[in-house]
Each structure stands twice: as C-alpha cells, then as structure tokens.
Symmetry: C2
Subunit: 550 residues, 2 copies
C-alpha cells in the first residue's frame, strides 16, 4: 500500500507517524511544498518576539529524523500540483530540481492547511505569519532598536499574538481590526478586557477600522489616520487550501472547506482530508471551520486509524481556544452569546468574576467568567473567560463538562482539587453551577447588562447594595444606594414596583434579591454585577464612538 500525504505539518505528519505505527509495511510519502516539516506553527510569533530564543526549537522534526524513526519518505519543496483521482495519481513539482513527477497512490491524505486571506498593500511589504520562512523574513526586516513601526491587520488570535510579540521586540505597533471588537469568539463585555490590556501595553488598537489605501509607503486607515509602517502583518483570517481538492472534484462543505465524514474520508473513499483545510463537525452536527492545532493533530491520527482499518470516529468540535494577551489569558469554547442571538436560539447567560484561588492566599487574580446555557435542558452551550491565573484550567474543566454532558447546574457538584494555592473550597466552577442553578430554579431571577436600560425605561428601580466606598468609585446612574448589610433595616426606603439590585460581581446582589423577594419585593439581580455592566457599557461606547468617528 502506498499512502501519499500532502502537507507535512500538524495534520499530515500526525497521520503519517500514526500510520507507520499501525502499519510497518506501508509505503508512506509526505509531500511538503515548504522547506520545513513538523514545525511549531503556534510558536512562530514567539520567535519573532524573542521569547523562544532558539530557532531550532521551532523544528520538532526533520525529514531525516522522520525517516530514521518512522521510515517516512519526506520530500520538502515538493508541491502537489494536481490529483488525478481516476488514475490515483498526484502530479508533483520538485522545486529544487524544477522537475515534475507523477506518483501513484492507494490512499491519499490531504493536509494542506489554510492560507492567509489576501491583502494587497501596494508598496509596503505585507507578511503573513504562518511558516518558518515567514518569521525569518519578518526577523530580517525589523531592527530591534525601535526605529521601525508595524501595522498588524486582524485582531483574531494570530493578529494579537503577532502584535504582542512585535511590541515585545520593541516595535511600536498599530493593530487594525475590522469588527467592533477583537477575538470574535468572545462577547463584547469580555473582549473589552482584552482590548484594555492591549492598550495598557502600548498597542495602538483601532477597532471598526480597515486599511483604506496604501500609497508610497503611507497607509491610510478608514478613520483617516495616516501611518508609515515598516512592516504590515496580514492576520486578517485564513481560507482552507482547497485548490487541489476542488480541481479534483471532491465535495466541499458549507464554508468552503473540504467535506469529510467523522472518519475524515472525503467524497472519494481513497482520499482523506484533515486539518485547517476541512470542515469539522459543528456543535449541532453542522459543517464548521474550526482551525485548531489540536483538531488537526487528532484528526490526522483518526485518518491513519481509519486507513489502517480501525473504527475511530471524531466527535463534534467545541472550538476550545485560548490565547495569552500580555498579562491576561483569554479563552472560550462553544457558542458565544452573539452567535446564539444571531441563530435565534434561546439561551441563559451567567457572568461571574471569581478569584483564581482562595482570596486569603497571596497571588489570587480575578477573572471574568461567562457561561451560556440551554434553557430547555440546562446543557452547557459555551463558555468564555478572561483573566490571569487559572483561566485555562476553568475553560478546560468546562470543555470536559460539556463533552461529558454535565449540566450547568451539575457544575455545582464537581469535586475539583482544592488547596488555597489552586482554587477555592467552592471553586469558581462550582459557584458558576450554583448561580446557574439559582437562575434555573427561579431562586434568583437575573437581568443581563444589556437588558437593564429597557427595564429602567419600564420603571424598574436600580438598587446598589455595595458599600458607600465602592459606590463612590463608580455606579450605575440613578441607582439608589443601600448597602446589603443595612438592607433589612431600610426596606421602607425602596420605591414601589420592580427592583433590580446589583453589587460588584453579582454575589451580594443574589443575597439581596433573595432577601427582598421574601419581603414581597419584585427583585431581580444584575448578572455579573457592576463589573459586567461597566464592561458591557464600555463595549457599547467603544463601538458607537468608532461608528461616529466615521
């Protein structure tokens, strides 16, 4: 059996190595158009910034090491030009010799990844940040003395990583993002935390902004600003590499990626496809383009298993993601509130702001956590977190809970490891479960930050149950202040009619709402408290200001 793999990095090489372990006798040829295989795509930005010092660290394997260990026939600078499915033949251009060769296969694995969406910027060098060659080029272009500036286009996670690393390298950097907020997997009230961190670290962030024109080294942005960057990094998104597949008549999916089944088989049973080039199984079984290293690696292994006759199958992709943004970590999985709204799907949202570990132990850091819940069955639909320590842990826990079918309320019962350095006796995840359960059971009705204006218009009073000192440092306009610990004694100060209570994060508000409801007041708690409300307001303001500036 001869197996040809096109693309020699995450998905392709994972397929090749696993297949060798399963089948010592197969002939396995890996074609890679670039000069390197098995490199750490995800590490590339950090070599630009110098956090990864040794370039060799980026290269996990060489063709030689892969031959020695796995008897793979790895051919770099070999580009697959065309696939003849009828003849089961790949046409290959050897860029070293310039010779075109034809290779027959029994099984073909397409793992060609994705390419940056094109960005034409005339006379300033536009670079992508996707390959070792890319970082070499950026490295060569940029002095380390702060004399050059850069423009990064696209505030997704690659754009943010590029920005962070350019700043780290001493390059003043402007980050231009088309949408109103960076990191599309986050809802606005979490994305603004990331935006604040970018700005606090000197990034010139321009949201709702695009490049309008480039002329003789000068870039004009859609907000009128003029820049003269030495370098433009194009991180404006990527498109599946489907040229070969399309030309060969393979079926594509709803979003333009190669269509595959749960075993990574394409519409041709002799052809498999994995990685950024293919559609994944979405949360509802729909086609979904989720371009993540973990999925590419795992699905490469799935393809190998299936080729070797094993019954492996992929599960739906949650789209779990995490990115470091200077001192912050931002992570998410599943549906966002925005996506749920656009899909017209009912949901419940819960916001909390817990500490990463016991507040009494030094070093605890606060995070913002958000959970999205299916009101029909209490299932977890998605989650987001932005903060310091412990964010990645909580998102992982939620990803496993979601995969394991644990309900939102069921989070309360999870028995997570607790010592003061690591969590809390009631872990943030347990508390999330408590809050979700209180909403589910109607124990405390909540109001989302974006629902407050309408309620106020309808006559609801807003009561701030924080301390006077907290209120003095920022409050919701028009709120009546009665600290929680005085509430029982000051019930008569409340106006008639519905009341929305709030505190800093929602916790005292919950106790206040319980108290009031039992005293006959129609009280609801502002979910996530002042923190979520003010983040949501900041997000709205930022979006409307950039709209006005246009």
């Amino acid at each position: 059996m001869r197996v040809i793999v096109i693309g020699g990095v995450a998905g392709g090489m994972s397929a090749a190595t696993r297949l060798r372990r399963l089948d010592e006798s197969a002939e396995i040829v890996v074609l890679e158009q670039g000069s390197y295989v098995s490199y750490a795509n995800c590490g590339l930005p950090y070599y630009v910034g110098g956090e990864i010092e040794d370039r060799a660290e980026l290269l996990l394997h060489t063709p030689e090491s892969l031959t020695a260990r796995f008897r793979l026939d790895v051919r770099t600078q070999h580009e697959a030009i065309a696939v003849d499915r009828a003849a089961r033949r790949v046409e290959v251009m050897d860029h070293r010799s310039g010779v075109l060769v034809e290779l027959e296969y029994d099984v073909l694995v397409l793992a060609a990844g994705a390419s940056a969406n094109p960005l034409s910027a005339a006379d300033i060098p536009v670079h992508t940040l996707r390959t070792v060659d890319d970082v070499d080029a950026i490295d060569a272009l940029l002095p380390r003395d702060g004399s050059a500036t850069a423009l990064v286009v696209g505030g997704g996670y690659i754009g943010i990583e590029a920005t962070e690393n350019l700043v780290r390298r001493g390059v003043p950097t402007t980050l231009v993002h088309r949408g109103p907020h960076v990191l599309a997997t986050l809802d606005p009230e979490l994305a603004v935390l990331v935006e604040a961190e970018l700005r606090a670290n000197g990034v010139e962030l321009r949201t709702s902004t695009e490049i309008e024109s480039v002329d003789r080294g000068e870039v004009r942005l859609s907000d009128g600003e003029l820049l003269r960057p030495r370098l433009i990094v194009n991180a404006s998104g990527a498109t599946p590499n489907t040229g070969l597949a399309r030309a060969a008549g393979l079926r594509l999916g709803a979003n333009g990626g190669i269509a595959v089944d749960a075993q990574n088989r394409t519409s041709d049973p002799h052809v498999y496809a994995v990685g950024d080039g293919v559609e994944k199984i979405g949360l509802d079984g729909e086609d979904a383009l989720v371009a993540m290293a973990g999925l590419a690696n795992r699905h490469g292994r799935t393809a190998a298993d299936v080729i070797a006759g094993r019954p492996e199958r992929n599960s739906p992709a949650l789209g779990t993601t995490v990115v470091r943004v200077f001192g912050l970590t931002a992570a998410s999985l599943g549906w966002s509130e925005g996506r749920l709204q656009r899909a017209g799907r009912p949901y419940r949202a819960v916001h909390t702001h817990p500490m990463s570990h016991a507040a009494y132990f030094p070093g605890a850091e606060r995070m913002a956590l958000k959970l999205l819940i299916d009101p029909a069955d209490d299932a977890i639909l998605g989650a987001q977190a932005v903060g310091g320590a412990g964010v990645d842990k909580r998102i992982d826990v939620l990803a496993v809970a979601m995969a394991g079918g644990i309900t939102a309320s069921g989070l309360a019962r999870l028995e997570l490891a607790y010592a003061p350095q690591y969590g809390q006796a009631k872990d943030p995840i347990n508390q999330l479960g408590y809050v979700a359960d209180n909403v589910r059971t109607g124990t405390t009705a909540t109001v989302q930050w974006h629902e407050l204006p309408a309620l106020q218009r309808d006559g609801a009073a807003v009561v701030d149950v924080r301390s006077d000192a907290e209120r003095a440092s920022g409050a919701i306009p028009g709120a009546l202040g009665i600290p929680l610990d005085e509430l029982r004694e000051r019930l008569d100060e409340l106006p008639d009619g519905p009341v929305v209570v709030y505190c800093q994060v929602g916790q005292r508000g919950h106790t206040a709402a319980r108290l009031l409801v039992q005293h006959g007041v129609d009280a609801r708690n502002l979910d996530g408290g002042y923190r979520t409300w003010s983040a949501g307001r900041a997000a709205e303001l930022a979006a409307s200001e950039t709209m006005e500036a246009r």
Copy 2:
C-alpha cells in the same frame, strides 16, 4: 422554625448562610465552641510560615458580619454538651459566662468537624494545627531565628503543609511518618517524588518510623534516633467528632463517622450532619470518610436546601485532593493502585511523564501522571499527578471526566484549550487517552514497573531504545541497548523470545513495540519508561531499607 447549627466553620456556616437565603424567617442559631467562626482552616499552615502575613486574612467572617448580612445568631465559645432528641433540645455550655443553657430546635445540623487523633508525648508541647488558636500557640512558641527545631508527626497533607511552613519559618524540622510513604492517596512511585522534594528542601524525613518514647524533652524514634524538638506538631490523622451524635443514639457509619443519606439526613429526620464528622458516599456507594473543605461546604449547602424543602442530593465523593510541596504539586482522585490491589479489584494502570505545556515554549515543567482504569468498561477509576505547573489542571480535568462518565480512551477526544503557554496540541490528557486506548485495544501491551522482575525471571529480554547518552546516565541492569532510530536495522541483534522495550517515559517504547510486533517479535512496552521504573525501584528500596534499619 428554629434551626440550630453546631459548629461554625466550613460545613456549619455554609448551611446557615444558604438557609438564610432560602428562608428569611427561620431563626438560625450557630453554636461554636471556639473563639472564631468562618475561618480559613486550609490557610492556617501558611500563617505559621508567613506566606499569609495578615492574621485577619484567616477570618472570612465574624459573628457581627454574619448577623448583619445573614441575620444569624452566632454564639462563639458556646459548646454543645448534649442533644436530647426526644425533646429536640441542645444543652449548651457558654464558656464565657460558665452558664449552661438549653435551646430547643425544630431542626438540628451537626457540623462539629473532626479532631486530631491523640498523641501523648509527655513533657514536650504537642500542638495540633486545626484552629486559629492552634496557630497562635505555635506562633508564640517558635522564635524565628532557627534556634528551635520541630518534629511533625504524620506525612499526610496537613503534616506536609506544617512541615513546609516550619521550614519556611527557618525551623529545622523532622517529619516522622508511620507508613512506608507519605501521602497515602499516592502510590509509592509517585510518593517518592514528593519525598525527594521534601528532602531537597532540607526536611529530615523519616518514613516507616514512629515516636517510641519521650523523656525529659528527648524524643526517641523507632529507628533509634534521638531528637530534642522545641515543638511537636501532631498531624497523625483525625477522627470524626461524633461524641454528641453517639450519645444521642444517632446511627454511625462503617468508619465511625455519622451516617447520613444523600441529603445529609441522619437516622433522626430532624437532625442533619455535614462535613468531616460524617461518612460520605464512596465511589462504590460504600461509606467513606473523606474530609475535605469542598465537600463540607457543598454538603452544608445541601443540608440547607433539604431543610428548605428542595430536592438537592449529593453525588459520590471522588476524594479529589491537591497539596503544594515546596516547588511541587501533588494531586489525586479516586482509587489508587494500592487500594485497588487491596480490594482485589482488577485494573489497568498507565503512567506518563508529559510536559505542562509545549516543550518548545520556555518554562515547561515535567509531571508524572498516572491513570487507573477499569478493564471491564474502560471507566476511569482514579488518577494521580506530581509535578510543577499544570498538575492541578490535569487532575481537575480528570475529575470532571470521571464525574461525566468519560472513558479512559475517551480522554483522547477531549478538546482542551491549546496555546503553547498552556498545553500541547495533544494535551497530556489526550496522550493519556491514547496510551489507555492502545492498551485497551491491544495495540501495545505494557508491563508495569513492578511486573518486570517476574518477566525477567521468566526469560524476557529487556531492550533500552534510548540514546547512548541517556543510557549512560542510568539504565535497567542487564538491558540491551538499541536506540529506536536504529532498531529496524538491528533487529537481528535481538535474542529470541519475549522482549520488554523501554525508553525514558514510554513514548519511544510504544513506537518500538509497534515496530517489533510487526516484525514478529513478542514485544511489550515498559509503562512509564525508565522514569516510572526508577521511581518504583527507589520506593521499594526506601521501604526495604527502613525495614532493615529496624
């Protein structure tokens, strides 16, 4: 309704506060024999060591703050002396006034915790480390100039925390542990990693050792050693406080804790019990004494829910635990291999030694991971981890997977958050799943470290597939060295008959085993590689040396 809660810390106060939120009108009296309520038991050791500097940090609430917020009637220095169930009456000694009072209840909640097992040591002060008063006493006794030495009895997690903090305070400390290895929830080959860390930080660790006698300030250990400690900390285990319950004729469980149902109801429907004093639901539904803050807090809340007429129920306790040991983190959940063996229960074990995050990104730390699996249905039975960063995260993920019924092989499909600072494209948890799946499917048969001697006696050859350099720095006696990358070319050097291959952690061994099996060799892989084998051997040696020394 009058509810009396006996014990005003983790379980008791959680019951009281939740009950207030559910029932504004109940009269809630909390009796606490000590001077403080709602203190951070788990933080106490770190105040001794100085990491928590401000004593006030230990006190989460005061009676006053609890009255203001929750209208609780909190009475400190009030000891419950007896319970008259027929009359629904508690006899209470007010230690401030010396007056005995009687209080009637509709519902009683027992949350009296546990007490240190007694340790009689004649004329040297013996302290426990369980209350604020305890740490005040230890603090007062110890100079900070290194002139006093201490002896800690018991190498469970409280004993280890006490030891770490005494060392941090500059007090040379001997830790005496009766069993062959510290931290009973860990199997020996993981416990030795903790023991090495203790020794590396200057702790005089004596395992398989007890106090034999104490005479005029001099302690004689069972190994003959003589010590003159200023302080003895008794951390030799704790026993549920069941005096009141027993005298009142409440049913006790198999391990001497108060018996309760899944709603924390005792054998008297008017009496609930929570926390360290009660039996939990074990992994197989059996009685189990699991004394953890998370369970105490959560079950306190359960009791409140049930008292208020809600349908809350507890799930079985996994016994998830974590402790910091100087630079290491040690964590575990569920069954250990030792416990499974003692129960005669079949299991599969998997050991790995992954990096906390991508090896190419600075700061990755290696951990030892162990998974225990039910061979009948691939269910996760337990897990252990010792290492640096990311240990708590992996144990939490495994705890959720176990709670969610995700199988060992299913770990391979979990979609965990990956960026190079946080994990790996194939996270350690995914790899654990792959290894488990390979064992389950017979893809690679493995050998446990403790099974090797018998196999060698039966004639199996041992082949070391690491590099020459690795082999030079320590290898299994009698092993034949053939580096993995040369294995295909040197097959003829292998002896006839069964072969056990090994590498450093098991990963190359797996590839080697796959290769050999397909070339007709009866090959198995040493699970966890040289690291696990040498840790296991060290554990055996340590245990047998202390046996010989006696």
